[in-house]
């Protein structure tokens, strides 16, 4: 009672002093007086109070993985150009597109920015270059571009990865010679028209019809009905050339002439204003008896002879179809990575803000509490931080995938050159075909499964992170200039394009089931997709989990593997049970959707976890390594806490689940002091964050208002 009454007296005194100050203000002064900092809340840079226990630059290198100087160069190119809208706020310069511009203006700016980067050689070698080094540099540049603006990245992705990738993967030498260089230097602009109004993720269902006219040696492309109109075609509203894909075939069709006029027999319309990505011109296309020369069939996998004979080296239509999806795979890799960078931006902003913004005092005379010192706030943000940091492993994973892609493309290249001389060199071609059929689908499968599951997991994680960060920034998160809230609209599309996330995850489970059945039927151990652990005895989880067990790599690995293994067994059993009851395989699969979802998640999280361990073990002991092991435990435990499977199927007892929960709280507390260094390691330059990440009081002061 005593203390409460004395503190209420203090409070009265304080109020009185505030009122006195108000009363003493000379009311005559019309010009606003500079505010006294001593009576106001003051901004204190988090760098003053937070400690840096590990080397932020080294950590950044580990996270970005490669091409640091190239990245910094491109960041600098953007910061120094007016085209990227540098804006001074609170004594710092920030770059960000003006999203208040009209859709048309935003699209124009996207093209201007592309022209600027083109001029400075950013895209050199993106299509004509060879080798892992060029590939990695391209990835690095693409990531940096995405950090600035998602529209800019998507616009480039459509031109280089979809259109350019289609020429590279589906085309043969004649297409490469004719189109790649011109695409790289933007002499022509390309788009990739696959999705239709009626069919998106189900590529096989698309309705556009192409027939071959042997009299003229041309293909005739038609849109037979409204649901067959090409939809969401990035770049279609503006651009010249278009690859259209019918069934498993891709064609090149010109949709605009050199002056930008729409070609005869083509109709084009805009998709209209969107919730994000308005810097990208998505369009719709109708084909009315559009004639393209026979040579415009991208014929790496299948060809049509002048007299109309269909020829393909891959007899199995499923495999042929898989071969056609290769360019989409590289798209998935870039989407997955850009989702991570988006999460990094929002986390860096929200965490820096919560290290400088205070709210509520614990007792009346004490300073208000820093947002990040609330355990609940820590629980909201730090696990997301751990998850995002955990995707460090992705750097490596992407490198693997790139290697795969290179292997595939080299392989198909060799294969293709032989295909051209198919009849003449049939022996050699047959030999290569065998290799191709044997090897490529395997590589394709791994790429497909891993990229699908990572794309879905990372983009979902990104949307969750963005929402959490937006809320953590309070009202400030709603301002476009602070990026976090706005990015929700910009990045939402990621869970849909290049394959709907749910569909992708079903494909992952389906692929796992395929492996399971194959291994059972052939009585052979599991090999590939990281499923080798299925060959070992089933791991046993201790009855009681101590803190040190919970943090051990062994336990974490065991429980992730146990979940995947058990769910795969259950899934296989349920599907076969449905089949035994007379359901067709496809329908049985649809009926078991719940287990399929759980399994897809189990696979992704186990794969991410293993990728993480792989990069952790490469480090020698030191503060960076201890930090990584802390983050690894956070990732593992938060996964245990969040996925209901662990309780539902009894991998964790309820007692153990509550131990996990306690440990998460402890880990939050342990990570709290490192929050600033962890987000600093993300390597996002200040100019690409936002005013609330720095001196937000100065940024919002009266003197900063444009009078």
């Amino acid at each position: 009672m005593e203390s409460s009454s004395s503190s209420s007296t203090d409070r009265i005194t304080w109020r009185a002093s505030v009122l006195t100050r108000h009363l003493n203000e000379p009311s005559s002064s019309s010009s606003p007086r500079p505010l006294e900092s001593s009576i106001c809340m003051q901004f204190s840079p988090p760098e003053l109070s937070e400690k840096f226990d590990f080397d932020v630059i080294e950590m950044r290198k580990l996270m970005d993985g490669h091409n640091f100087q190239d990245r910094d160069w491109l960041f600098g190119l953007m910061i120094q150009s007016k085209l990227f809208c540098p804006k001074d706020s609170g004594g710092k310069v920030f770059v960000s597109p003006d999203y208040n511009q009209s859709m048309e203006q935003q699209r124009e700016m996207t093209m201007k920015r592309i022209a600027y980067m083109l001029d400075r050689g950013v895209f050199q070698g993106w299509l004509t270059g060879r080798g892992v080094e060029t590939e990695m540099q391209k990835f690095a540049f693409f990531e940096v571009i995405g950090i600035y603006d998602h529209s800019l990245a998507v616009k480039l992705g459509v031109h280089f990865f979809l259109w350019g990738g289609a020429i590279q993967f589906f085309g043969t030498k004649r297409h490469h010679v004719k189109w790649l260089k011109d695409t790289e230097n933007y002499s022509i602009k390309g788009c990739f028209a696959m999705s239709e109004l009626g069919h998106g993720s189900n590529v096989r269902g698309i309705e556009t019809i192409t027939t071959y006219d042997s009299a003229t040696g041309e293909f005739v492309i038609n849109t037979p009905c409204e649901s067959a109109q090409k939809y969401w075609i990035g770049g279609a509203a503006k651009l010249n050339i278009n690859g259209s894909n019918q069934g498993v075939h891709a064609f090149i069709a010109q949709i605009r002439d050199a002056d930008g006029n729409i070609c005869p027999n083509i109709r084009i319309a805009d998709c209209g204003h969107k919730i994000g990505l308005n810097g990208v011109d998505n369009g719709r296309i109708w084909f009315d008896n559009v004639r393209v020369p026979r040579e415009n069939l991208l014929n790496s996998v299948a060809d049509v002879s002048p007299d109309g004979q269909y020829m393909s080296a891959i007899k199995d239509p499923d495999q042929r179809f898989a071969a056609f999806l290769a360019p989409l795979t590289s798209g998935r890799v870039t989407i997955a990575v850009s989702a991570i960078y988006s999460s990094k931006i929002s986390l860096a902003i929200a965490l820096r803000y919560s290290l400088t913004r205070r709210a509520f005092s614990v007792s009346p005379n004490e300073p208000e509490v820093l947002l990040l010192d609330y355990p609940s706030h820590q629980r909201r943000l730090l696990p997301l931080l751990a998850k995002t940091s955990n995707l460090i492993g992705l750097g490596l994973e992407v490198a693997h995938i790139v290697e795969f892609l290179n292997e595939t493309s080299c392989c198909s290249e060799i294969f293709l050159s032989y295909l051209c001389y198919r009849y003449a060199m049939s022996f050699a071609a047959n030999y290569l075909k065998r290799i191709y059929v044997k090897r490529t689908p395997e590589a394709n499968k791994t790429i497909h499964v891993v990229s699908s599951s990572f794309k879905a997991t990372f983009t979902w994680h990104n949307m969750r992170t963005l929402q959490e960060c937006r809320e953590a920034c309070g009202g400030q998160g709603l301002k476009t200039e602070n990026r976090v809230g706005h990015m929700k609209g910009e990045y939402d599309v990621q869970s849909t394009f290049e394959g709907d996330n749910n569909v992708l995850m079903q494909q992952v489970s389906k692929a796992l089931l395929g492996e399971y059945i194959a291994s059972q039927r052939r009585k052979k151990p599991f090999k590939g997709l990281g499923l080798e652990h299925m060959n070992d005895p089933c791991p046993v989880i201790p009855a009681t989990l101590t803190s040190s067990t919970l943090r051990s790599r062994q336990f974490q690995t065991d429980i992730f593997c146990l979940r995947e293994r058990d769910l795969l067994n259950r899934f296989a059993a349920e599907v076969s049970q449905h089949q035994a009851q007379g359901e067709r395989k496809e329908y049985a699969f649809i009926l078991s959707y719940q287990l399929a979802e759980d399994l897809g998640r189990a696979f992704s999280e186990r794969a991410i976890f293993q990728a993480f361990i792989e990069s952790e073990v490469t480090l020698s002991s030191g503060p960076e390594k201890s930090m990584l092991s802390l983050l690894r435990s956070m990732y593992a435990l938060i996964t245990l806490e969040e996925d209901a499977s662990f309780l539902r199927y009894g991998y964790l007892s309820t007692d153990n689940a509550s131990s996990v929960r306690k440990e998460v709280t402890k880990l939050c507390g342990e990570l709290r002091p490192h929050a600033l260094s962890l987000v600093s390691s993300f390597g996002i330059p200040d100019a690409f964050l936002s005013p609330i990440a720095f001196n937000w009081i100065e940024a919002n002061s009266w003197s900063s208002v444009q009078h």
């Binding site: 932020v56 910094d72 960041f75 600098g76 120094q80 710092k92 400075r120 050689g121 330059p685 200040d686």
Partner: protein, 344 residues
């Protein structure tokens, strides 16, 4: 000199009677640079740590100025080079005159623009900072004002009355100080031949990714140009130490994403590597040829840009592997302006 300035700055910050600090030169220079010859002498006598100690203090002084809680007015009535730039540009107000000559001539000496230059050069418009830092180009007062190195331009003859006015008002309020300097200021005209009219070409060439690409971009431009500006720019790059050019470009590029503090820490690392001659001895060769023997004919080693690998450049940016060595420790400052904070 550096230690004395540092003492004065610390003392005046604590002294509540001191409101603002005016820094000016004696004679025809504001400051033409540090005493490089003394550093070279110490180091060649086997004591690189003495040289390192000198730079350690100098960088702390630069940091004090960048984060100074009172108002610093530097009157740049003459030569401002190297360390002179470090002792003025980080401060709040820089007054140029018709006598001002600014340059960062380090690459010709086999070193690199230090004293936190990677911070302020990288923040000049477009890629002007790369141009100034790599070529050592000289700027006059009008150019300094145009690019932002100077905040005001006051004719020399008005300087005494400006000082008197500042003395009279005796305030730390930057807005008031700025208004007073404004009263004496003039808008100078850029000369017709000023390089500042060449910003387009500078941006186009000096934005290139590497020194080699900058040179070839300039050579491409030279084909379309009649006057001698591009050839002389190419000439100054070719005369400079190749290693210095590589280090300087990297330092400016990284500095663009850093705060003053990290820029100075980085400068100290590079500087120690330079003194220890681990990769190249160009600093000593440059000083011999330009300052001691004055034969103006340094023999750089490596002699060509293409002989320098990324790994060699990396070395300069890494920690120094020497037992007692540590990164530059900058004092905690009560007043940390936005410019002093950056994460990368």
């Amino acid at each position: 000199m550096v230690s004395r300035l540092l003492e004065l700055f610390i003392a005046s910050e604590e002294d509540s009677n001191a409101k603002l600090v005016i820094v000016k030169g004696k004679g025809r220079a504001f400051c033409a640079g540090g005493d490089v010859v003394a550093v070279v002498r110490d180091t060649t006598e086997g004591n690189w740590k003495l040289g390192a100690h000198f730079y350690w203090n100098e960088y702390i002084l630069n940091y004090m100025m960048a984060t100074y809680s009172k108002t610093q007015v530097s009157i740049l009535d003459g030569i401002v080079m190297g360390s002179g730039a470090g002792a003025s540009i980080h401060g709040r107000f820089r007054v140029a005159t018709e006598n001002s000559v600014f340059a960062m001539p380090e690459t010709a000496l086999g070193i690199f623009p230090d004293v936190g230059a990677s911070y302020f050069l990288s923040r000049l418009p477009g890629f002007f900072g790369e141009y100034v830092g790599l070529t050592g180009a000289r700027l006059d007062g009008a150019e300094m004002l145009a690019c932002g190195l100077a905040t005001h331009f006051v004719p020399t003859m008005r300087l005494p009355s400006l000082e008197a006015a500042l003395f009279k008002v005796n305030t730390s309020d930057p807005a008031v100080v700025s208004a007073i300097i404004d009263e004496f200021s003039q808008q100078p005209h850029l000369k017709d031949k000023s390089t500042y009219h060449r910003l387009d070409i500078i941006d186009k060439c000096f934005s290139s990714r590497t020194v080699e690409e900058i040179l070839s971009a300039l050579e491409r431009e030279a084909i379309n140009e009649v006057d001698d500006w591009i050839p002389s720019t190419i000439q100054s790059l070719k005369k400079a130490s190749p290693m210095s050019l590589k280090i300087s470009l990297r330092s400016i590029r990284e500095g663009r994403l850093k705060g003053v503090r990290q820029c100075l820490v980085q400068d100290y690392r590079i500087c120690c590597h330079v003194l220890r001659s681990e990769v190249s001895k160009d600093f000593f060769e440059g000083c011999r040829a330009i300052l001691l023997d004055k034969d103006q004919n340094p023999k750089w080693e490596p002699s060509k840009l293409e002989l320098i690998s990324d790994d060699m450049v990396d070395r300069y940016f890494s920690k120094v592997e020497y037992d007692e060595w540590e990164d530059l420790k900058l004092p905690a400052r009560p007043n940390l302006p936005a410019s002093a904070i950056a994460k990368l």
